[in-house]
């Protein structure tokens, strides 16, 4: 019997001693001879986990003379992990934040270094379009370096071959949209004798955030981007006429079975599949149209796709977006001295130099891309996805102005789409409430939004009429919507 107790005790002892150390003995101890600057970075992982110490990471480290330690945190648990890091005082020296109330509250509490006054010493950082900084500012101060994205991404992407066959034009008015979608659905654009196409399919998040198709069409028809400001007075987009007319368009499309009846439950994967397999003809998208064409030609080899500017009766008009996918901030917890702040800013500044911009967007020459004289070519899509994309998602690069790096070998359509992205910049309608403060929004913004999103869907599906819609608006106002408008007015 004693053997058991001895065994037991020894197991307990072994566990006790082992508990302190990592079982695989993986540790990163490097000699600190030339002492590159040690920089742990809290990184949001959007796609796949890149291999540790891969060539991209090494290339950045070598150029910036740093020793980077990326702590990849999956997006799905990013907020929770960050909350723990803050509570435990274990923040890395540089961390990605989103421009959301949770983070803004932390910033206001003085947890992060204010960077605004320091930026002038860093030529690349100070050369950035001021709008990028404005869109991440908190109480007018700058606390981070934006992870830059295009301001105006919305484009109309459509099946040119179908349009030509049916003699259609790119829609401008709401009536045009109705006619185009109707024809693409009922007039057999693919000429196979079957009624098996849609004009357009919606997915369940069709009316959410910046890529809301209701906002995009409504703006093109002269509507505001999320909020209308008149004489210092805030009105939400869904109380304006262009927006309501847009909703009526979709109500009509739904009623006549011209859009998918299951849009309330379908997710993007499914709708993308419908477009990619040549079963739908027009969409408003923020992505590059070339992607659609590439996938489409696998099933419909002779398909022709084109891209057009989002245009309404009053000309080109589209909603402006934040211009960032979050920003990189420096916590005071882990970075104690101004000297260290400067070192980190120096690192970020270097990232904007052409060699680094190339690495961030394309990866390493010879492994991810090859130089072909006037242009570059992606060598291996898989490696690009696994080793370059995570850094492209995280580190700042100039999305719309890549003049500093060699152009990629890209088909004509891709370049056309890219060009439209640049043209769009001049025609965007800003969201006036983007950086404004509202306690009500912070307290129950999502609930208020849900009331309206639900009502929009119910209206389109014919479950409520105009009266019902107005009742929902009243509900929204009373639940805090009015208060929110007032708070925006005051903070303007």
């Amino acid at each position: 019997m004693k053997t058991y107790s001895v065994l037991l005790l020894s197991i307990l002892i072994v566990f006790g001693t082992l508990a302190g150390c990592a079982p695989f003995g993986w540790s990163d101890e490097k000699s600190s001879a030339s002492a590159p600057f040690y920089l742990p970075i809290g990184a949001a992982l959007i796609g796949e986990l890149p291999p540790k110490n891969n060539v991209v990471e090494q290339a950045i480290e070598a150029y910036t003379h740093t020793e980077l330690q990326f702590e990849w945190i999956p997006m799905s648990a990013y907020d929770d992990k960050l909350r723990l890091m803050i509570a435990a005082g274990e923040l890395p020296k540089l961390i990605k934040l989103g421009y959301a109330p949770v983070y803004i509250a932390t910033i206001k509490d003085g947890q992060f270094w204010e960077l605004g006054p320091l930026l002038k010493d860093y030529p690349h950082l100070s050369a950035l379009d001021n709008q990028y900084y404005k869109n991440i500012s908190v109480e007018g101060r700058i606390y981070g370096v934006p992870i830059i994205r295009d301001f105006g991404r919305a484009t109309i992407q459509y099946r040119k071959d179908w349009f030509d066959r049916l003699g259609l034009e790119v829609p401008i008015t709401l009536e045009d949209w109705y006619r185009v979608v109707r024809a693409l659905t009922l007039e057999d654009p693919d000429g196979n004798g079957k009624q098996d196409t849609y004009g357009m399919v919606l997915e369940k998040k069709y009316n959410q955030d910046v890529s809301s198709i209701l906002t995009r069409i409504s703006v093109s028809q002269g509507g505001p981007n999320k909020w209308l400001v008149e004489n210092g007075h805030f009105t939400p987009e869904f109380m304006t006429k262009p927006f309501f007319d847009t909703m009526k368009l979709f109500r009509r499309l739904y009623k006549e079975n011209l859009i998918n009846s299951d849009f309330v439950v379908v997710d993007t994967n499914e709708t993308t599949k419908i477009y990619d397999s040549g079963r739908a003809g027009i969409q408003i998208s923020g992505g590059n149209v070339q992607t659609w064409l590439d996938k489409l030609t696998k099933t419909v080899p002779d398909a022709i796709v084109d891209v057009a500017l989002l245009t309404g009766p009053g000309g080109i008009r589209l909603p402006g977006e934040a211009g960032n996918a979050g920003f990189l901030a420096i916590p005071k917890d882990s970075v104690k001295t101004l000297e260290e702040v400067e070192k980190i800013l120096d690192f970020l500044n270097k990232l904007f130099e052409p060699p680094m911009q190339t690495v961030i967007t394309k990866g390493v020459e010879g492994r991810h891309w090859a130089d072909r004289g006037d242009y570059t070519e992606v060598l291996n899509r898989t490696l690009d996805l696994k080793e370059v994309k995570p850094y492209r998602d995280l580190l700042p690069f100039l999305a719309d102005d890549q003049s500093s790096i060699k152009p990629s070998l890209q088909p004509e359509l891709y370049l056309k789409n890219q060009k439209i992205g640049q043209v769009n910049r001049a025609y965007i309608v800003e969201n006036p409430a983007l950086t404004l403060e509202s306690d009500t929004y912070r307290e129950k913004g999502k609930e208020l939004e849900t009331i309206i999103l639900d009502a929009e869907t119910k209206f389109i599906m014919g479950m409520i009429d105009e009266e019902g819609w107005n009742a929902e608006l009243a509900k929204w106002k009373q639940a805090g919507g009015d208060q929110m408008s007032l708070e925006y007015e005051r903070s303007l």
Binding site: F15, L18, P23, K52, A87, A88, N288, T299
Partner: protein
């Protein structure tokens, strides 16, 4: 036994077998779909429709999985925490469950009540994190094994199983000079193989499915178990996170997502058939009892 051959019995068996077969089929078909898609070429899948058998076989998806060592490495991490973690779980749980199954033990009810209480109330993420940190477990794989060494649910149910073992057996062992520890390891555990297999399975699956704790407690991404990576690939590609920086170019095709599901699920699926023989061993308990 003439009764067994009656028509009523035969009809019963017939219906029973058919129903079970049907249920099994309904349960396994989706997995067949996942498996089939993972072996199909992306072009074939793009055409749409239900695929239950690949028309054009393709190993491209699996080649993608092995194109870097990240998935493979995280698989090793998962196997490691599952094997070692389950061992720790079974040891600690049975050590605690056995005394609690002895109805004469003083203070037993109080301890059971206290255990039950932890199933309902918890301190939450942040205080638990502080404890794990104070024990110096963070950023090590122990943080995925020690803080959940005993599941209150499994403990209570295992205690119940132990209780059903007739006292007579244990008493005879004690007369032979065993102390309680000996009784547990020599008599009770061997007699409880079906229960141990069951809770071993529960714990193993629990470890295999861990992802949230891994994200919270571990900073070094090389120590992430497979579920963290699986969710990254499968769930985030549903683009449900509303990050506008995601371009649909960069969403993984269905074939790869399915292949990752297969890769991350098959090892744990194999555990059950392996344990199955122990479920049958329960017969022994009956024979000893008689």
């Amino acid at each position: 036994m003439p009764q067994d051959k009656s028509t009523g019995n035969r009809i019963f068996d017939c219906i029973n077998y058919t129903l079970l077969m049907l249920i099994a089929l309904i349960c396994v078909l989706p997995f067949v779909y996942v498996l089939a898609v993972s072996f199909t070429s992306p072009a074939e899948v793009a055409k749409g429709g239900l695929i239950l058998w690949p028309k054009e076989w393709s190993l491209a998806s699996y080649r993608y999985i092995f194109s870097t060592d990240t998935l493979f490495r995280s698989m090793l991490v998962s196997i490691y925490i599952t094997v070692l973690g389950t061992f720790i779980n079974l040891l600690f749980t049975s050590l605690m469950a056995y005394p609690l199954a002895r109805t004469h033990l003083r203070g037993r009810q109080g301890i059971l009540l206290a255990v039950l209480f932890t199933m309902l109330f918890g301190g939450g993420m942040i205080p638990t994190y502080f404890v794990v940190k104070a024990m110096h477990l963070t950023n090590s794989l122990w943080s995925l094994m020690i803080p959940n060494a005993i599941s209150a649910f499994n403990l209570i149910v295992l205690k119940n199983f132990f209780q059903q073992i007739p006292d007579g057996l244990e008493d005879s062992a004690r007369i032979d000079g065993c102390n309680d520890v000996g009784v547990l390891f020599r008599i009770v555990l061997p007699l409880s193989l079906p229960a141990m297999a069951t809770f071993g399975l529960f714990y193993a699956v629990g470890h295999w499915n861990q992802f949230f704790n891994a994200i919270l407690y571990i900073n070094d991404s090389r120590l992430y178990p497979i579920q963290v990576l699986l969710r990254q690939i499968v769930i985030l590609s549903q683009s449900s996170i509303g990050d506008t920086s995601i371009d649909n170019t960069e969403i993984q095709p269905l074939t790869i997502r399915m292949a990752v599901i297969v890769f991350a699920t098959v090892p744990i699926l194999l555990v059950y058939p392996f344990l199955q023989k122990h479920f049958a061993k329960g017969v022994m308990l009956g024979s000893v009892k008689g």
